[in-house]
């Protein structure tokens, strides 16, 4: 295939994003505006923050289905403890709750050697019921609505606290992945754990930390969500995990581990955010939105395949997470 096409394929995420934006601008009146941008970013940032953690985890060759539940638990803790600790410390506690959840996942997978898909399927259920337990299945209100409102203030026409945090973190992730030794070691572990071990890299430690990192970020996202809505709810984030995994994979990160990029994830998150926003502007029914995002997911993964089959590896090597 021609150089041009292969370039298109290499930057397929960016291409798809641009196409989406272009199409939206043409078809949706008033789409191309700063408000839309800030909206998209803000909506993207919840998924995005979790996606950052999951990107790291997927590169390490692991997966975490429990992020949605962690999201809820952290939010609840962050709200519940407000009377006792005050807003700031409560928020911190919420994030730490996420960290703790990550420790549990990491322990199950690294120490007990349980396949991460199974382990986090289990913790997904456990953390979710913990959320119901703590709240007796009732959403709990926070102290200060005004703070929630300021949290969703828009600065410089574009950024909310959330979206700002998201963008900064993902750029940091990009630098970390590409420029630091630890970042490269992460790829090594995801690509071939045994070799990494043999080269003196502690694969177990890296995987464990990846789980902690992922859950912590889910915690951050959860706390922010709860602060913005001034509510801790046991049902938060139940729809989230799938969306996040989709965003990361659309971003070209591979579930088998060893490959992925922060900017790709950014692209994936923005694509999905843009798509949703655009379709909502046009009152496209939710189920049609599902079809669209499903199609994009499959399409991009197929493209990813076609790029890779240029390589020596047999086309349909069994895909093991």
């Amino acid at each position: 295939m021609s150089a041009f096409v292969s370039t298109l394929l290499r930057y397929r995420v960016a291409v798809i994003l641009c196409l989406t934006l272009a199409a939206a601008t043409l078809i949706v009146p008033g789409f191309a505006s700063l408000t839309t941008l800030s909206l998209g970013l803000d909506r993207g940032s919840t998924i995005g923050l979790i996606a950052i953690g999951l990107t790291v985890l997927l590169i390490a060759g692991q997966i975490d289905l429990s992020v949605g539940s962690v999201f809820a638990v952290s939010g609840i803790v962050g709200i519940m403890l407000q009377p006792a600790l005050g807003m700031g410390w409560a928020a911190l506690a919420g994030v730490l709750a996420g960290t703790a959840a990550g420790v549990v996942n990491g322990f199950l997978v690294v120490a007990l050697r349980i396949n991460s898909l199974v382990a986090t399927l289990a913790t997904m259920l456990v953390f979710r019921s913990v959320a119901h337990w703590m709240t007796a299945s009732q959403p709990i209100p926070g102290n200060d609505i005004m703070f929630s409102i300021t949290l969703s203030e828009i600065y410089l026409e574009v950024f909310t606290v959330r979206s700002g945090l998201f963008l900064v973190s993902i750029l940091a992730l990009h630098v970390w992945l590409t420029r630091t030794v630890a970042g490269r070691n992460l790829f090594a572990v995801g690509s071939n754990a045994l070799s990494a071990e043999a080269s003196g890299i502690s694969a177990g430690r890296i995987m464990f930390l990846s789980f902690v990192f992922a859950s912590t970020l889910a915690g951050v996202a959860g706390v922010l969500q709860s602060l913005v809505t001034n509510t801790g709810s046991p049902v938060y984030g139940s729809e989230l995990t799938v969306a996040v995994i989709a965003a990361v994979v659309v971003g070209g990160t591979r579930l088998e581990g060893g490959r992925g990029s922060a900017l790709g994830t950014l692209g994936g998150v923005l694509t999905i955010a843009a798509l949703t926003t655009a379709m909502e502007f046009q009152s496209v029914p939710a189920y049609m939105q599902q079809v669209a995002s499903g199609l994009i997911l499959i399409l991009l993964v197929v493209l990813d395949r076609t790029v890779r089959t240029g390589r020596r590896k047999p086309a349909a090597a069994p895909a093991h997470a």
């Binding site: 096409v5 298109l8 394929l9 397929r12 291409v15 196409l19 989406t20 199409a23 939206a24 043409l26 078809i27 949706v28 008033g30 408000t35 839309t36 800030s38 909206l39 909506r43 919840t46 119901h132 709240t135 299945s137 009732q138 959403p139 209100p141 609505i145 929630s148 409102i149 969703s152 969500q225 913005v228 809505t229 001034n230 509510t231 709810s233 046991p234 049902v235 938060y236 984030g237 139940s238 729809e239 798509l275 926003t277 655009a278 379709m279 909502e280 502007f281 046009q282 009152s283 496209v284 029914p285 939710a286 189920y287 049609m288 079809v291 669209a292 199609l295 399409l299 197929v302 493209l303």
Partner: protein, 312 residues
């Protein structure tokens, strides 16, 4: 390759074009619970149709039962500078900050179908639609009337943590206390408004309590049907204990005729939708509206089953 990449914008375009065009009329932002649901769908349809008659443009966003999506969608509405917001809350308070910002932006907002916590009242012009808490109370009355104020009931509730569930269970329990009835609640199980889950749960409840069950309260008719099926499996021929459901579905009416159910509470999605948009229209015309505009709730028993229209 090119072919593949080119197909995407086409797809997006198709999807986007398939939807309604944009106009300069007054635009009302309608954040609905879902666009694929037995009750919500007819309500949405009614609301949209009435809006056309009133010459109002509707921008409808579906939360698909996800609160978080909903809160974000309210922000979308604000950013779109809608002239009004009709919100179908799935949580008693999560939307409050968003509604507060709507008020800051001078966008009038009203709630449809489900109530929210008191703090919300400062930010909304009105709450139209059935009062799920009220429904709980009505159910309590109807059931204790059927049970002569004594006996033991099982409650088959909806999703844990869901606003409607909280209202309908809360209203029921509080009302029983209120009238100091001697009815005891044996057990409350969550069946997520799902007939199969209700069926499975009911089987276990029937095995567990057997004849102790002298009354049943289901948060909606679908789950009531689940209990009836379970009961028939367990002890065929034996008449069901008095069962009270909510919604007034067509098949619930049949069950009432055949005596399998004691009563249901009709809340018409059509009324629900219409009332909401009409109220919003008045607000847009600068009229004052009542803070609480209930849609009629009718308790349907054998007595009036032939005269009342089923909700859907």
């Amino acid at each position: 390759m090119i072919g593949k990449t080119a197909r995407l914008p086409a797809a997006v375009a198709a999807i986007l074009l398939a939807s309604t065009a944009f106009a300069s009329a007054k635009t009302v932002c309608y954040v609905t619970a879902a666009d694929s649901h037995a009750y919500a769908t007819p309500a949405n349809v009614a609301l949209n149709d009435r809006a056309k008659e009133l010459g109002i443009e509707i921008l409808s966003l579906s939360q698909n039962f996800d609160v978080q999506t909903g809160t974000e969608q309210v922000s979308t509405c604000i950013a779109r500078k809608a002239d009004g917001i009709i919100l179908w809350p799935l949580d008693p308070q999560a939307y409050i900050p968003a509604l507060a910002r709507a008020k800051q932006a001078n966008i009038p907002a009203i709630l449809i179908n489900s109530p929210m916590a008191e703090q919300a009242n400062d930010f909304i012009k009105s709450f139209t639609g059935p009062d799920v808490y009220e429904e709980g109370k009505l159910a309590a009355d109807s059931l204790s009337e059927a049970m002569k104020g004594e006996g033991a009931v099982v409650v088959i509730a909806g999703q844990a943590g869901n606003g409607t569930t909280i209202g309908r269970v809360g209203g029921f329990v509080d009302r029983l206390k209120e009238i100091g009835s001697k009815i005891e609640v044996l057990e409350t199980v969550n069946a997520d408004f799902d007939q199969q889950k209700a069926l499975v749960a009911s089987r276990d409840l029937i095995t567990r309590f057997g004849d102790k069950i002298t009354g049943v309260y289901a948060n909606d008719d679908t789950m009531a049907r689940g209990f009836i099926d379970a009961w028939k499996e367990a002890n065929s021929g034996k008449p069901t204990p008095p069962i009270v459901g909510i919604n007034g579905q067509r098949d619930a009416f049949d069950s009432i005729r055949s005596g399998e159910m004691y009563s249901t509470i009709v809340q018409s999605p059509v009324e629900d939708g219409k009332l909401a948009i009409e109220t919003m229209a008045e607000i847009l015309d600068g009229k004052e509206v009542k803070a609480r505009l209930p849609i009629p709730l009718t308790v349907v028993t054998k007595a009036n089953v032939e005269t009342v229209q089923p909700a859907f």
